[in-house]
């Protein structure tokens, strides 16, 4: 039964309205969580005795850094599915995720370097984590550039997929770079196996913000995937029907 459902929604024409219904919920969730997270971050969490007020940037930095890696994996996953099973929708998902992933990576880099100035005395250092995060940004850009320079959407999907899959190797490098090389950058303080090593309020703030970014990403990706569906399927009957109905309204 569940399987049947999946196939049902794997078709762009059924997924399109479903996505339309989901968007407002995720948007609302993103706004709500962000409000809570920021409240915790700015008013509840105590001033750090080492880093002063500046550390509050962590509430943006860490969630975006997490999202940047996570979104890449998701993108590669959908791209691989599209390549293997020739399912249109999964390739469209991959294409829709890329810009958000790039944005998250950029934000992580930017907030990181804003923070680096007071902490390390430089906007940028060539540390392993920073470098691999920068590579991640280039991978996103490369993915988008490759797709943009191929006109045939099917070829673009498939070529992009190969690149995305090859690039996955970078994600574990980013994540473990702080363990493999001793660097300036902070090691993981949240992990599944150990108990967290930071103040509970800070942790909560971060987790809530992470969830907010999650919701935001889902909402944006859905909006974008809807646009892509319309663009690619504009010659199919159901899109024509949709337009006709839209015009009639």
């Amino acid at each position: 039964m569940a399987k049947l459902n999946w196939f049902y929604f794997a078709a762009p024409n059924t997924f399109y309205p479903l996505a339309g219904k989901m968007i407002p919920w995720f948007t609302a969730a993103a706004l709500g969580l962000a409000a809570i997270g920021l409240y915790i971050g700015f008013f509840v969490a105590p001033t750090d005795f080492q880093q002063g007020e500046g550390y509050r940037i962590i509430f943006v930095h860490v969630p975006t850094a997490w999202m940047s890696m996570f979104l890449y994996v998701v993108m590669a996953f959908w791209a691989a599915i599209g390549l293997a099973f020739n399912t249109r929708l999964s390739s469209m998902m991959a294409q829709a995720i890329a810009p958000t992933g790039a944005l998250m990576t950029f934000l992580a880099l930017w907030t990181g370097s804003l923070w680096g100035k007071p902490m390390w005395g430089a906007w940028w250092v060539w540390d392993a984590r920073l470098t691999s995060e920068l590579i991640l940004l280039f991978l996103y850009i490369g993915f988008m550039a490759l797709q943009a320079s191929i006109d045939d959407p099917r070829r673009a999907d498939r070529a992009g997929a190969v690149l995305a899959i090859v690039g996955v190797i970078n994600v574990p490098i980013i994540y473990f770079s702080v363990q493999w090389w001793n660097t300036l950058h902070q090691g993981a303080s949240v992990s599944i196996t150990r108990s967290p090593s930071m103040a509970t309020t800070m942790l909560w703030g971060m987790l809530v913000m992470a969830l907010a970014f999650w919701m935001y990403s889902i909402a944006v990706v859905l909006v974008r995937v809807r646009a892509i569906i319309l663009e690619r399927e504009r010659n199919t009957d159901w899109v024509r029907d949709l337009k006709a109905r839209g015009a009639a309204k």
Binding site: D151, D152, R154, N235
Partner: protein
């Protein structure tokens, strides 16, 4: 033996054709005709497995060609708009290389013979870069001399740039292959008479 079922071809936003099908027994020539842009090249590339059809299927001896992969490709000889020869190599070198690639066996001697049969005596050792348009086409076509074993030939406008004599000779070669049990798919805009027993014609576009 070669079957196409309900093929549909979509390029960009244009549907070139749909529900195209044919079934070719051994020893048949299929002439694909139609005006410019009707999808002949696209159809031929689908048959080779270079282009994925938007819908439909191509079967060789009852099995999908994607699945057969190397087994099918061993039976196939394709000649497209390009000659697939290296400019910097001589005719002989080109021929020897392409035969090894195709898993066949050619020798210096047989390659030279083939080339001179194709009217290139005296040009065998020149880099093909300096050959004329029609001579290059001949070098590309010369590989057909070694491909009698391939049961399926797919030829996209083989007569382009050839002079009258060469056209005649290629037409005869094709006829020979068909009559000895091969299947040949062919497009051309010129009126060339290929004297075979079994022939089918597939019309694309509204000519």
């Amino acid at each position: 033996m070669l079957e196409a079922v309900n093929l549909e071809c979509v390029r960009g936003e244009r549907r070139l054709f749909r529900d195209v099908g044919f079934a070719l027994a051994e020893g048949t020539l299929l002439e694909v005709v139609g005006p410019n842009g009707s999808g002949k090249t696209s159809l031929l590339r689908m048959v080779c497995g270079l282009l994925m059809p938007a819908a439909g299927e191509i079967l060789w001896r009852g099995q999908g060609i994607r699945r057969l992969a190397e087994e099918y490709r061993g039976q196939l000889t394709y000649l497209g708009h390009h000659n697939a020869i290296k400019d910097d190599l001589s005719g002989v070198e080109n021929l020897l290389f392409s035969e090894t690639m195709a898993g066949g066996e050619a020798t210096q001697k047989s390659a030279r013979e083939a080339l001179s049969r194709f009217g290139l005596a005296g040009f065998e050792d020149l880099p093909t870069r300096v050959l004329s348009q029609g001579q290059k086409r001949r070098v590309g076509l010369a590989r057909l001399a070694f491909r009698a074993r391939c049961r399926l030939w797919v030829l996209d406008e083989p007569f382009v740039a050839l002079d009258v004599k060469a056209v005649r000779m290629i037409a005869d070669l094709v006829a020979n292959q068909v009559d000895s049990g091969g299947i040949v798919l062919l497009t051309t805009h010129q009126e060339v008479d290929v004297p075979v027993r079994n022939r089918q014609t597939l019309r694309l576009g509204h000519a």
